[in-house]
Symmetry: C2
Subunit: 429 residues, 2 copies
Amino acid sequence: MKKYSELTKEELQTLKKELEAKYKEFQSKDLKLNMARGKPCVEQLNLSMGMMDVLNGDSDLTCDDGTDCRNYGVLDGIKEAQELLADMMEVPPDQIIIYGNSSLNVMYDTIARSMTHGVMGSTPWAKLDKVKFLCPVPGYDRHFRITEYFGIEMINIPMTADGPDMDMVEELVANDDSIKGIWCVPKYSNPQGYSYSDLTVRRFARLKPAAKDFRIFWDNAYTIHHLYDDKQDNLVEILAECKRAGNPDLVYKFASTSKISFPGSGIAALASSHNNLDDIKAQLTVQTIGHDKVNQLRHVRFFKDIHGMVEHMRLHADILRPKFEAVIEILKRELGGLEIGTWTEPKGGYFISFDSLEGCAKDIVAKCKKAGVEMTGAGATYPYGKDPHDSNIRIAPSYPPLSDLITATELFALCVKLSSVNKLLSQMK
Amino acid sequence: MKKYSELTKEELQTLKKELEAKYKEFQSKDLKLNMARGKPCVEQLNLSMGMMDVLNGDSDLTCDDGTDCRNYGVLDGIKEAQELLADMMEVPPDQIIIYGNSSLNVMYDTIARSMTHGVMGSTPWAKLDKVKFLCPVPGYDRHFRITEYFGIEMINIPMTADGPDMDMVEELVANDDSIKGIWCVPKYSNPQGYSYSDLTVRRFARLKPAAKDFRIFWDNAYTIHHLYDDKQDNLVEILAECKRAGNPDLVYKFASTSKISFPGSGIAALASSHNNLDDIKAQLTVQTIGHDKVNQLRHVRFFKDIHGMVEHMRLHADILRPKFEAVIEILKRELGGLEIGTWTEPKGGYFISFDSLEGCAKDIVAKCKKAGVEMTGAGATYPYGKDPHDSNIRIAPSYPPLSDLITATELFALCVKLSSVNKLLSQMK
């Protein structure tokens, strides 16, 4: 195919008519498809149904240390669950707190606590004139909503295939003590599926923030969420690296089993230094008597150990891999060589990131919606929902059945073409 | 028995020797008993083991409205759970949010949100010079710890058998706009087991607080937690009463199934006006994608409806009633007529409240501990842990087996006598 930018006005006009006819065909199909959120599909949920059988009415719900999981107590999680999630998060089991069903909730609470009580004795952020966060972009909309909700000013940091622009990060945190944190999805990032390089992680561990209460919010959401057995990204472990760098308290590491067991009914965890954990537990003990230990035990009995969990993730991969490959194949087939968009080809995680010609993303998403396919809102991958180039679109291939996904992606590619043709034509006027 | 105050010095000295001998006997028994917390006992936990069987690997985990409980979503809880807990809380099902496993966590979050974001548009409490809460005393230590943690000044309000001193409450809230809330356990109160009279509830609903963001924190923890079939306290429903009084937004009502199903793995709920719920959901949607719906469904499938839940509570009562009766019988037998202490005789809830002679509570609790019986710390039932009379002790009869409970209560009564004798003797010097 010829690059769109090399087409004449007449060629573009002819192409536009063809594309519009195809678009009308799609519209007549009355589609109702959703590629908006990173939701596991039914087949993935079915993988964990065995979890409903590991505890039954005859079960002994007692932990190895004698704790009755049914009763009150145990603030930081049962030992068995700490071990399992420590192995998953590659941290020592005594550096972890097991929470309820949502790591997002843990991140929210971490910011909320810093607002009202500061970090390890620092001034509460709510009492400061200005608090800022660094936000690698494109990034995860729900992270940005938390910081926006608390009135924290967000600064865009460009992402590269190696991670955030570390020159910029280092420079900013060293010189501005109102910068209190950075949102990171270090592995199979949301939405690009990039994993931070070893050098990036090492530079993170060696940051010299002007603010003593600066923390890296390390959302390791996709730590074992590979698509392939033979092609897996590996990450330098940040807690250990921070310790080696003499910065042991620099990072909060978050994870959950939401995309391993059941999205609404998994268990979440936070790993950090003992200093940070002590600071957190002083608050946690006021907030709750303890999280759901029966569900913690259910996870341990189902997965048994990290090997069981990793094997389980291969079953997820078997379902997700064809979906990711189908999307990428269609994008290549339909858009390859046209120079009207670029996309990532992740080896794990839940998303593919697409960048259209500047100023087309909103239009593409709107066109998809009009023809019955819901995408993540354009702009959602940027703080305040504002993509300065209006070009990034997050594609979430996990939820629709493969046949629907193929239809949806074909429509998406068509909308990209149509929107690009319109843009090029409008520039000729 | 003769009143202790009428004993001569010699009689007291003789008595002291007898009591000390008995105390030594107890010490030699190497007891390790716990009457400190309102923890259900093993037999009570066993009542809900059937809950482990209602969902199994072959179950359809779909709600009536088609929601797959295993996946993400549904911020305010599945409809079936809203209905069940609405019936339990005596509110309309559209005026309820179902949360995770801890109503304490919901109360904490409610205060935390008010600190950073205010209440329905009011100034965030963290930005005010002074925020105060009214605390009926004796009361629940975990309530007080939340307000203390946020630096909220707590004002003691004396409890009566009809509820808090409403003259004082009305006067204070009408004239001080820094008073933003009051902690209430309106039914089978913690620790006295008192239930607010109809008039008290009506006066609450008709409060005219100077602060528009004043809220009643109505912790209805023991709403269906009766000890008897034929003697049950009944409460005027506060939400409806507030609506009738033209004060629909005045109250947050909290409850959970922690002492119905499993203490660590129940479901919690908040009921309030639509205005308040909208205010809360604007925050909740930033904090989480949703709570554990599988556990919500598990509760619904197990209890089926409010009738099932009420029948289940009769089984709890059958276990708890003999324990409450044993404690009260021993207190009557050992302390009746001595005028060295008074106690409550609740018809429900989890506690018996004991008041010793002034200045004896800490000593009694310490003596119990030295002989192997852990009580709730003296002072815990007051804000800042400071009982101005050092006389209130909370007795929690639920956890120990009946035979242990009898031993523990006998020791407790002995410690009360010994401490009282010492006090009376010291006054004679």
